[in-house]
Symmetry: C2
Subunit: 354 residues, 2 copies
Amino acid sequence: MKVKIVDIAKKAGVSTGTVDRVIHNRGKVSKEKLELVEKALKEMNYEPNILASFLASKRNFRFAAIVPSYTSGSYWELACEGIKKAAEEVEKYNTQIDIYYFDQYNVATFNEIVQQVIVKEYDGVVIATLFEKPVKAFAKDLDFNKVPYVFIDSDIPNQNNLSYFGSNTYITGKIAARLLLESTNNLNTIFFAHIKFKRSEISVQMRNREKGFIDYLIETDFRGRIQHIEFDPENAKEGLETLTKLLENNEYPVGGIILNSRIYQFADIIQKLPENLRKKMYLIGHDAIPGNVEALKNDDVKFLLSQRTDLQGYDAVKALSNFLVFKEQPAKINYMPIDILLKDNVDYYYNYKL
Amino acid sequence: MKVKIVDIAKKAGVSTGTVDRVIHNRGKVSKEKLELVEKALKEMNYEPNILASFLASKRNFRFAAIVPSYTSGSYWELACEGIKKAAEEVEKYNTQIDIYYFDQYNVATFNEIVQQVIVKEYDGVVIATLFEKPVKAFAKDLDFNKVPYVFIDSDIPNQNNLSYFGSNTYITGKIAARLLLESTNNLNTIFFAHIKFKRSEISVQMRNREKGFIDYLIETDFRGRIQHIEFDPENAKEGLETLTKLLENNEYPVGGIILNSRIYQFADIIQKLPENLRKKMYLIGHDAIPGNVEALKNDDVKFLLSQRTDLQGYDAVKALSNFLVFKEQPAKINYMPIDILLKDNVDYYYNYKL
DNA sequence: CATATCTTTGTGTGCGTACACACTAAACAA
DNA sequence: TTGTTTAGTGTGTACGCACACAAAGATATG
C-alpha cells in the first residue's frame, strides 16, 4: 500500500492540513511540528499521488509554441506534428497548447507573434530559434516573468532556457562529407547545389552543415574541386548548363550536397539531364520530408541525413509539461540522433510513430 | 469547461449512476434511458477524465516481462533498461511490472518461468520470443484467459498478440552488405566471423541477417570470396591463423561481418594481429552495446547497425499500459528504425535518452 | 482582565469518477 | 394477499489530495 498524507499525519501526530502545509512550503507551521512531519515524510518515503493531486488542484497550464509557418510536406510540418502529438498527450494534465506561426523570411512577423504571446501570459513557451536577437529579447521577458521556455531548431548559448532540443548540424555536415567520400570511388569533384527560395536564405543550420562538410574535407586532405552552383527553380537553365559542363568534363563520379531540406527540388530539376550524366552524381541531402524520401527511393539521392524533427517538437512540449507537472528537470542540451537514411532503411524510419 | 458525468446526467434527465452504467456497459438500463444517455454523450462530446477515473477505480495492473538474463553491457540489458524506464512511467497508473529472466540457451528455464507467470495471473505480459514453440503454447493460454501480450525481439506470425516491437533483421543484413560493398574499394573477400559462445547459438535474428546479407551479394552479383571463420574466445589461435592467411594473401581490403551483437569480442581477438593486417579489415557489427560502441570509436569497427533495443522494451510496456488504461489499440507490427552508426554519430545516438 | 490580533492547527468540502448499496415498481409464485 | 424475485434507477461514499475556512492557542493592547 502506498503511503498517503493521512498516514504521514497519523505518524507525526498532526492533521493532514499541517502535512499539506509542510509539503507545499505554505509556512505557518511551528518548528516542532515541521520537524515531526519532515521526519515522517522521510521515514515513510512519501511520494504524492500525482493523479489525485492534479484532480484536487484544478491546475491547468497553457503553452505557446512559436514556429515558422509551413507548406505541406516541408520541414516544419514535421516539427508541428510532434508538437500536436504531445499536445494530445498532455491534455490529460489540463494542458492546452496554442501554436503560433511566423514567416521565417520576415522578422517582423516573429516580433508580432511574440507580442501576442506576451500578452496572453502563457505558463510555458516553445520557441523555434530562427531569429537569434528577437529570441534573446523575448527570453529576457520570459525570465522576468519566470515563465519556462524551451528552444528548438538551433541552440542559443547563455540563455536561461529550460532546455534545448535540436541537432548538431556541424557534425551532420561532417558525416555527409565522410559518407560521400567513402562511398564513392575516385571522387574528385563536389558541388554545393543551392536552390533559390524567396529571399536568400542561409540559415544557421545550413552554415553549420557547410562548415562541418568543409572541415572534413580539409581533415582528410581532399584535393578535388569544390564548386557552388545556384539554381532557380523557376528558371533552371543557367544552373543546369553549369552542372552539365561539370559532369561532361569529368570521367569520375561527382558528389553533390544540398544544405537545406529541399533536395527534392533539385532532384526535380535534374530530371532534365540525360540519364548517363545523372547517374554520375552522388547526392546527399538533409531531412526526411516526403519529397526527399521519394527522391531517395528513386535513387536520385544516395543518402539523407536526418534527425527526428517531429521528436524535437514533441520532446520540447513534453519537457515543459514534465517540468511543470512533475517537477522533472530536463537536460539543458539535447541533441537528436543523427540518422543516416538509405533507400533501404527509410521505410522503417518513417514507419516508426511517436 | 469540460463535460462531466453530472452534466450528461442532467441533460439526459437521469442519475449519474445510470450514465455510469451506460458508459461502462454494465447493463440494467432501460432502452429509453439508454438512448437518452447515449444521445447526450454524443451531443456533449463527453470524454472521461482519466485522472479521476483512475483515482476512483482503484484499478491496478500487474505486468510480467519475460526476457533473457544478461550480463552487464550485453544486448538484453538495453531492452531491460527500456522496460524499467517504462515501468517508472506507468507507476502513476498503479501499474507494476515484474521482470522474469530465463536462460536463452536453455528452453527449460523459459518454460519454468512461464509456469510461474501463469500462476500469478498477470494483467499483461511482454515476451521475448526466442523460443517459438513454447511461446506459442504460452500464447494460447494467455488467449484463453484474455490476457493481452506483446512480443519483442522477433515476430511470430498468426498469433493473437496485441502487438510486436522489433526490427527487420533481414533488411538489416541487406544494408550491412550494401554499406560494406559501397564503402570499400575493390572488396573481393568477405568473411563471417563467428564467435563461439556457450552452446552453439544461431538465433532467428542471426539467420535473417545472414540471409539479407547474402541476398544482397547475389542481387549485386558479387563475385568475390565468402568465408566463415570460427573463433573461440578462450583459444583464438586457430581462427586467427585462418584470418591471417586470408589477409596476407589479399592485396585488397577484406570485409568482415559478425551476425550477433558481440563484435567487440572479435575486436578484442584481432588486437593480436599486426597493425597492417588489422587495417585491411572493414568490419560491420550489430547493436549499440557499450563494447561495440567502444570498438566503433577505436576504428576497429566501421559501421554498427542498430535498432533502439531499449525502445523495444519501452514501447512494449507502454503499449500494454495504453491499451489497458486508455483503450488505445497499437499497431500489430512495429519495426524499429534501422540505425546506421558511425564513429561520428554514435555519441548522439547513445546520448539521446528515452 | 477583557479584547483584539496574530499564529498555529484542525476540519470540511470538492475535484470527477467508480461502485456498492438502497430503493422502487412490476412481475410472479405461493 | 403476502412474500420473493428482478429489472431499473438513484444515492452515498471513497479515491488522495488541495485549499478555504473555522477553531484554538498564543501574544499583545488598552
